[in-house]
Amino acid sequence: MPSSDVVAETSAASKPRSNWRRRIIWSLGVGLAALLLAGVFHRPLLRGVARLWQVDQTAGSADAIVVSTGASPEQFQQALSWWREGRAPRLVLTRSETKSTDRAGITVSMVEQRRQQLDAAGVPEAARVFIGEELRLLSQELPVVRAWAGSNGVKHILVPSEPFATRRVNWLARRVLSPAGIEATVVSVATPHYSVSEWWRSKDGLLAMENEWALMAYYWWNH
């Protein structure tokens, strides 16, 4: 027969163990309930993620509209529309990198294509400016924009951007342009490749969102 001391010691040791068991069961229960809720309400949740991620500002009037020659046709058309609406007197195009097929004379460079589109749209030479050379990344473009804006008295620019890239563009623009007193309004321009409200349903949408998360982390770390 066990003595009364041994019984007391056993019950004291088993008490914390049962406490832990209870905590684990509770945690599992809460975790499962959260998963279930996330599964049931995944649409509003994922839509909310997209809404939170995007930094969509309203296009007002500015001193210049800045767009890359390598930007999507939708972004370029948006920039052109703003110029036609008179939101800014100047269209500034940053020259993107030349492709191998351009160099070989097989294709026409984006710079030349945009020049032809501006001619066709009736944008006079005085209203368009091409700046920089062989710009591949946003981090290369913005310093060029800052230098041009600084020497031309430009204080406010409009920037069309791919929806999920707005956060990154806005973040880097604030770091690079704001110290020089230049304000950038970054406006989200819809893309035909995915719908922002249902981005998780298409491969392009998923890739765009995931790439932007990764790039944002990369920018935070490197800039």
């Binding site: 007391a8 097929t101 990344l137 890739l207 790439n211 990369y218």
Partner: protein
């Protein structure tokens, strides 16, 4: 009944010592990792990338999406006498190309090959309405079986090589054709220093994710 306070404080002290030792080891490891980051980040890339030694082949295949660099590498192989035929896929036209049977990418590859003096008889379009790398490798297998090819070269961007090699391994199972995957340097950055450039970083992490995704398929 109450527990012995001396035993409890001894246990706490022991745990604190263990935690302190763990924290110290963690800090040391983090320091070493940071100091040697260039070596192991580059090592990861070297270990990830598959680069088969190039040898004389029956054909070189230009994969879709790489007209700007893969097609020029294929031209180089062809002119060096390493591949008689240059194959390229018939890629399905995109949603923004509704009035055509040949996609922009397919015709661009063909134009690059023609411009770089690869004769018409050496250029061959394979497959039909291709939408993925898997479709391309399947079309390549059909072509290889048809002509009983011995060796085929497939140049591609560095981080894509591993997934491509795995795909070839499974689709060419039982075939006598050897498909060699070779690296084409991407434009704009050195792949051995992928973490220094955002495109390099993006390419590597995209390939890692796709490989993880494939592992669960």
């Amino acid at each position: 009944m109450t527990t012995n306070p001396t035993a409890t404080s001894l246990r706490h002290q022991r745990w604190l010592k263990r935690l302190g030792a763990l924290a110290l080891v963690g800090v040391l490891l983090a320091g070493i990792t940071w100091q040697t980051r260039e070596r192991w980040l580059s090592g990861i890339a070297e270990a990830w990338v598959v680069n088969d030694p190039v040898e004389r082949a029956d054909a070189v295949m230009v994969l879709g999406g790489g007209a700007q660099f893969r097609s020029f590498e294929a031209v180089r192989f062809h002119h060096a006498g390493l591949a008689g035929k240059v194959l390229f896929p018939h890629i399905k036209p995109g949603a923004d190309e509704p009035d055509t049977t040949t996609s922009r990418e397919t015709s661009l590859i063909d134009r690059v090959l023609a411009h770089e003096h690869v004769p018409a008889e050496a250029r061959e379009q394979i497959g039909h309405n291709i939408t993925s790398t898997r479709d391309e490798v399947l079309a390549l297998r059909v072509w290889a079986d048809g002509v009983q090819a011995r060796v085929i070269l497939v140049p591609t961007d560095p981080f894509h090589t591993r997934r491509l090699k795995a795909l070839i391994h499974s689709i060419f199972a039982g075939s006598t054709t050897r498909v060699l995957v070779t690296v084409v340097d991407p434009p704009g950055y050195r792949w051995q220093e992928w973490w220094r450039d955002e495109q390099g970083f993006l390419s590597f992490q995209n390939e890692l994710l796709k490989s993880v995704q494939n592992a669960f398929k």
